[in-house]
Symmetry: C5
C-alpha cells in the first residue's frame, strides 16, 4: 500500500512549464541525477565497442563512420549535455524540448534526416517498484540516440543481441535497432498489465473470502481504477505512433523492418484489448464489493432478527407471571412453573423451525 | 465451478516471449504433447488418401501433384517439425513465429504464394471442458496446412465431406477447404455462446427462486463477465479477418468461394451481435442480484420489526403490573388479570391489523 | 407472464446447422406446418386473380406474362417446394439456404435478375402473442416471391390495395409491391415498440404505487431488457438493408420507388431512435426499483425504531419499580404509581415530539 | 406535476398511419382546430401587407409578383386546404404527407424549385405549458410556406422585423426569411434547455435539504430522463438538417445566407453539448437520491441503536433485582437501591461517551 | 463551498439574445465594467511602446506602420468602442457579434485579411476564484486584437517576452503573437485541471478517513461532476480550432509557426485525456461514497446486534426468576442467585466468543 500511494503522488500532472517561453529547454520531471550517464555503443558487422562516459562529446568521433552508434543518455535534468548533443546531430529545438518534457505524450515525427519517437517506458525496477519513465528515441543514418530520465531500463536484451555476432542486429541498420528498442518497451507492457490482472484477482479473492478490513477495499479499487487509466493513457497513443511509423515512407525504414513493425502493431492492439478487459473487470469490482457489503449486512441483520424474535416473546411470557395481581390463577397451579417452561420451549422450537424453513439458520 | 476456475488460470495472459529475439520460434502455450501428431489427407476428384504420422516429412512427396493435401499438425511445442514444414513450403519466419505464439490474436496475411489465417478454436471437448485453442491455417496452391495446440478439434464434419465423393469439397480448390475449416470453427462459436446464454438463464433462475448460497453468486457473475470478455476478444478480430479475406484479390480465392465468405461474414456479425446482447444481460445480472439481496434484507427487517413491535409494548404492559408500589389500584381488582389479558389482545390485534394494512403480513 | 416466458424459450439461439454442409437446405426454425400454403395473386392494370394452393407449380404458368405475380409461401419446413420454386425462378443456392435459415439476420443482395431481401416480421397475432417471423422477399421482373414461417402476416393492407382498381399498386411494377410489403412490416414495428412503451409505463406505475409483489419485478425488468435487445437486433440491421436498397442502382427499382424508399429509411431511423429511448428508460427502471426497495426498507426501519425507542425506555422504568430492594423510597409514596405514570407519559410525548420533528411520523 | 404527466401522454408515439397507403394525406397529431387559420404576409422593399384569412386561396394572387409572400397555416387537420396549397405551389405528394405527419423527424429535402425543411418547434406557451409542435417550412422563389399544428408560435420577432423598414429582412430573399424562422425556433431551444437546468437544480436542492416526500422523487427523476431524451430526439436530427442546408448548393440560398447558417449550426452544436451535460447530470441524480436514502437510513439506524444499546443493559440490571430468589445479598443492603442507580448512571454515561466517540451523537 | 455555489449560478446558460435580430451587437455576459480599458502595445525589432487608454482610437495611428500592434480591450459591455474598432479594422459584423456573445463556443474563422479565434480563458484570479472568461482574438497583418470580458488575464508572460529584446517574439510576425496568447491560455488549463485532481483526492481522503458530515458529500461530488463537464465543454472544441488553425493555409501563418501549433495541438490532446481520466475518477467517487455509507451502516448494525443479542437473553433469564409462581424450585436453593449469575456469565462469554469468531468484535 505504502509504495503505490507514494507512486500516485509522483505521477500527478505537474506542468511547471506554465508561462514558459516555448522552445526553452527545462526538465519538468522529478528524477534528478547528479551527473549524466552516457552509454556509447558502436558496432558494425565485425566489431562492437562499448563505453560508459559522463560526457556526450566522447561519442562524436564515431560520426561519419560506416558503423552504427547507439548513444544512451540517462538523466534528463542535464539539459546542457542534451543541447550539446542536439547541436552536434542537428536536432530541431522542439525535439530537444520534447525530450526533456516528461509530460509529452507518445508521438512520432519524421524529419528529413531522422525519425523522432517518444514512448513511455513502464516497468517494475529491481526493488519491484513501478517506474513510468519518459523515453525519447532519435534514429538517423548510422546513429540512434535514446534519452531516459534515470538509470535502469528494459534494454538488457537489446544489448545482448548487439553483442551476438550472428544476430540480425549486427547486419541491419539503425531502423532495426530503433525497432528493437521499442519492441523491448512494448514487451514490458505485457508484464505490467499482467500485474494488473494479478491485483484484480487478489481483490476478487479477498472479496470472495470476505477476510478483509472493510474500509480499505474502496480505496484499493479506486487506486486500481486510477492505475489502469494511467497505463492506458501511456499506452494508447502508441497505437497511432506505431501505425504512422509502419506507414511512414521515410528512407531510413527498410522494407524488412516494416514487417516487424506490423508485428509490433499487432502486439500493441493486443495489449490495448487486454487493458480494456481489465478496465471492465476493475469497474465490476466496485459492484462486487457493494454486494459483499450488503451480504454481510444481511447476515448481521439475520442474527439480530433471530435473537430478538426468539427471546422477546419469551421475555414477555416471563413478564406475565411476574405481575402482582391479587388473583392470577396459573400461579396457584402446583406445576405451573413447569407448564410455562413447556410452553416456552414450544415457542422456542417453533421459532427455530420457522427460521430454518426460511433458510436463515 | 471447479472446471471454470481451473480454466480461468489457464487462460491468463502469460507472455513468456518477453525480451526474446523477434523471429525466434518458441511455443508459449501450455498444452504440451510428447510427440507431434501429423495427419495427412490427400485427395482429388477420384480418390482420398489419409495417413497418420509422427513426422511431417511423410507429406512432402505429395507436393507438386495435382491433388490437394491437407496437413494437420497437433502439438505446437514441437517447433522443430514446424520449422521443417515451414522450410519445405517456404513460409516466412514471422509466420512460423505466429503459429507457435498462442498469444497472437486472429489475423490475416496474404503472401504471394499463400494465405495465412490465425483463428481461435473455441469448443467444449469430450469431457465437456471449455477449450480455447490457437489455430493457424496456411492455404497455398494445392495444399492447406493447419497447426493446432493439441489433439481434438472441430473438423470431423470437414473430414466426412472430404470422404463424400459427390461433395463440392472434392471438386473445389484449397481455398474452399480453408473456408470449410474456418466455417467449422465459426459454427462452434454458436455452441459456445449458446452455453453462455444457458449460464445466464441458470443464474437468473437461481436469483429468481432465491435458492442460492449468497456468497457464491458475486463470484459466479464476475466469472461470467470475464468469460464473455474473453470470448469476445477471441471472436471480434475475426470480423476484420473475414472481411479482409472476402475483399482480398488473392489469386488463390475463387469467385465462388467469395460468396461463401460473404455468408461467413454474416455469421460472424450475427455472433458478435449475440455476444453484445449476452454481455448486456450479464452486466444486468449484478443489478438483479443486488436487488435480490435488498429484497431479502427487507424481508428480514420486516420479521424483526413485526416481532419487536408486537411484543415490546406487551412486555411493557406486563412490566407495569410487576411493579411493587404500595398502592396500585388495578392489582386489587378481582378480574384485573383478565382485563389486562383483554387489553393485551386488543393491542396485539391492532398491531396485526396495522401490519396487514401495510401489506407486511 | 406465462406468455412471455414461453416466447423467451422460443427465441433462443438454436443453430442446428452446426457442422452442416454449406449450401444444404434445412429449416432450423420451430414453426412446422403439415402442408405448405401457397397464395398466388396475379394482377395487372385491368384484372386481379387470387388462388390458394398447396403446390407452387400452380403459379408457374403466369411466368412470362405481362402481369405481376405475387407468390406467398407459408411454411419454411417444406423445403422441397421451396427448392422447386427456386429452380423455376433460377434462385442462387445460397438464397434458398437463407430463406429457410431463420437465424439469418436482415440482409439485402442484388443479383442480375432479381433482388433478395430478408427482414424480420414482428407482430402480435390474433391471440395477442408476440410473433417473430423470418420473412424473405425475392423481387424480379414481373414477380415477387415471399417466404414466411407460418400462416398469419401483416400484409392484409397490401392485399386490399391490390384489389383497389385505382391504387398506385396496380400501375406500378414489382419493385413497388416489394416496397409495399417491407413498408407493411416496418409499420408494424411501430406497434411493437409502442407495446414496449406501455410495458415500461406499467412497471413505472407499479413501482410508483408500490403495489407489487417484490420478487417479481427484477425478473420483469430483466425480461424487458432482453426483449428490447431482441427487437433491436431484429430491426437495426434493416437500416443498412434499406439504405443499400435505396442507393442500389438495380434496373428493377424505379426512380419513383426510390423516393418511397427514402421515406421508409426515415421511418426506420425514427424507430431506431425510439428503441434507444426505451432502452435507456428500461435500464433506468432497475435503479428506480432499487430506490423503491430502499425507500420501503427505510419505512420498515422507521416503524421499528419508533416502537423500540418509545417502549424500551418505558419498560426500563417499569423494571426499576419491579425490583425487590428492601428500601425503595418511591414505592412507599401514596401516589407513587400515578407519579410514575405521569413520568412515563412525559417520556412518551417527548419521543413522539422528537420523531415528529424528524418527520418520521 | 399535473402538467407534465398530461404532456407525457400527449407525446406518446402513436402512429395511426399504420397499414395506410403511402402517399395518403392524413393528420396523425392531436391538436385539432375547427377552421384553419391562414396568415398571409406579403412584403417587398417598400411595403408590407398582412392579412388573416380562413382560406389559402386568398394568397394565390401574390404569385408571380416581385415581392415575398409568407403564408403561415395553423391547423394540420385541415388537409384539404393544405392539398390545395400544395397543388398551387406544385409540392410533391410526399411533402404534403410529411407536413401532416407529426411523427416525421426533422429533415431537409431540396427539390428543383423549392427547399423543404421539417423542424420541431419547442416552446412554453402563454399558460407556461410545454408545447412540441410539428413545423414544416417550404421556401421557394418569392414565397415561404409554414405549416403549424395549432395557433401560437415563436415567430413574433420575425413579424416585427418584417415590419421594420430598414431591417435586412426587407432587402433579402425568401432564403433569409426561412433562415430567420429556423433561427427563431432554435433560439427557443435555449429557453427549453434552460428550464431543464432549473428542474435539475430544483431536484438537487430538494435532495440536499432532504425536505422531500420520499416516494415522489424516483418518478420525478425518471420523468426528467424521459424529457431530456425526448428533447434530444427533437433537436439532434436538426444538426444534420442545418449542416446539409449550409452545404447545399441550391440556387435559392444566397452566399450571405450561408454565413448566417454557419452561425445557426454553431448554435445547434452548443445546444447539443448542453443537452449532453444535462443528460449526464440527470443520470447522476438517481445515484444522488440513492445515497440520500441510504444516509437517511443510516440516521434511523443510529437512533435505534443508541436507544436500544443504552436501555437494554439497564433493563437487564433492573430485571436482576426483580428476581425472587430467597437470598440475594444486595437486596438487604440499606442503600442498595441507590448503589444500583449509581451503577446504572455509570453504564448510561459510558454508553453516551462511546457513541460520542464514534460521532454518532 | 460558498465560492463554488456562487460561481455555479454565474455559469448558467443565459442566452438573452433570444428573439434578437441576428447581427445585432449586444453583450450577454455579466461582467460589467464602467469604462473600457484599452491596452495598446506597439513593438518592432528595435523598440516597444506601451500605452493604457480609455479609447480605442488612440491606437489607430499605428496602422500601416511596419510594427506589430497588440490592442487588448477589457470590458465587452462597451459595444460602441468595439464596433468602432471593428469598423477601423474592417471586421465582419458576425465577428463583432461573436466577440460580445459570451455564449459563443470556441471557434476558428479565416477571412481574407485576418484570422478570428474564440477561446475560453479559464484561470484562478488573485482572490483564487475560478474565472471563465470569453476571449476573442483577431490577428491580421501587423496587428493583433484581443477582447476580454474584464480586467485580469493570463498574458503577463507574453508581455514580459515582448519586452525581452532578444526573444523570438520581437522578430516574428503577428501570427506568433497570436500563438503565444493561445499558448498562455492553454498553459493555464493545466493548472485548472490540476486543481480538479486536487479536489478529487481531497474527497477521496475524506471518504477514506470517514471524517465527513454525511449530507455534504453528495452535493460536493455532483458539483464536481458539473465542474468537469463545464471545463470539458470549454476545452474540447479547442481541439478542432487548433487543428483547423494548424492545417489552415492562410497567408498570415508562417511555416515556423505551424510547428509551434502542432505542439499546441499536442498539449490540448494531453489536457483532453487528463479530463477524461478525472471524469472517470469523479464518476467513481459516487460509488465510493455509497460503499462508505454502507460500511458505516454495517458498523451501526453490528453494534446494535451485539448489544441486543447479549442482553436480550440475559434479561429473559432474569425475567424467569422474577415470576411469582407458588413453587419455583430454583428460588429456594441457597446459592440459587449465584448459580444464575454463573449461568449468565457463561451465556455472556459464549456470545462474545461467537461475535469474535465472526470478526464483528
Amino acid at each position: 500500500m505504502r509504495v503505490r500511494r507514494k507512486h500516485k503522488k509522483k505521477q500527478k500532472v505537474k506542468n511547471t512549464s506554465v508561462n514558459q517561453i516555448p522552445g526553452q529547454v527545462t526538465y519538468v520531471g522529478n528524477k534528478v541525477t547528479e551527473t549524466p550517464s552516457v552509454e556509447i555503443i558502436n558496432f558494425d558487422r565485425e566489431k562492437v565497442h562499448r563505453q560508459d562516459s559522463k560526457s556526450v562529446s566522447d561519442a562524436f568521433h564515431y560520426k561519419g563512420q560506416d558503423s552504427i552508434t547507439w548513444i544512451n543518455i540517462n538523466g534528463l535534468n542535464h539539459t546542457k549535455e542534451i543541447e550539446e548533443l542536439g547541436k552536434h546531430y542537428k536536432l530541431h529545438p522542439l525535439i530537444i524540448e520534447d525530450i526533456v518534457n516528461t509530460q509529452q505524450r507518445p508521438k512520432f515525427d519524421d524529419y528529413d534526416d531522422y525519425i523522432f519517437v517518444v514512448v513511455k517506458m513502464l516497468y517494475n525496477d529491481s526493488q519491484n517498484e513501478f517506474v513510468n519513465e519518459h523515453l525519447s528515441i532519435v534514429a538517423g543514418d548510422g546513429f540512434v540516440l535514446t534519452f531516459q530520465e534515470a538509470d535502469g531500463d528494459v534494454f538488457d536484451g537489446v544489448r545482448e543481441r548487439i553483442n551476438n555476432t550472428k544476430g540480425r542486429m549486427r547486419t541491419s541498420g539503425s531502423d532495426y535497432l530503433m525497432y528493437a528498442l521499442i519492441d523491448a518497451v512494448v514487451d514490458n507492457y505485457f508484464i505490467i498489465i499482467e500485474s494488473l490482472s494479478d491485483k484484480i484477482e487478489m481483490i476478487e479473492d479477498l472479496l470472495f473470502t470476505q477476510a478483509v478490513e472493510d474500509e480499505d477495499m474502496t480505496q484499493e479499487i479506486q487506486d486500481l481504477k486510477r492505475e489502469v487509466l494511467r497505463i492506458r493513457k501511456a499506452i494508447y497513443p502508441l497505437r497511432e505512433v506505431i501505425n504512422r511509423l509502419e506507414n511512414s515512407e521515410h528512407h531510413l525504414i527498410d522494407e524488412k523492418t516494416h514487417s516487424y513493425l506490423r508485428d509490433l502493431q499487432d502486439h500493441i492492439t493486443q495489449i490495448s484489448e487486454n487493458i480494456e478487459i481489465y478496465r471492465e473487470m476493475i469497474w465490476g469490482l466496485m459492484d462486487m464489493y457493494m454486494t459483499t457489503i450488503s451480504n454481510k449486512m444481511n447476515e448481521v441483520m439475520k442474527v439480530l432478527t433471530i435473537m430478538a424474535s426468539i427471546f422477546i416473546p419469551l421475555t414477555f411470557m416471563a413478564g406475565i407471571y411476574g405481575m402482582n395481581f391479587e388473583y392470577i390463577p396459573e400461579l396457584q397451579l402446583q406445576y405451573g412453573y413447569f407448564y410455562l417452561w413447556g410452553a416456552m420451549l414450544i415457542v422456542f422450537f417453533l421459532m427455530i423451525w420457522y427460521f430454518r424453513r426460511k433458510k436463515w439458520l
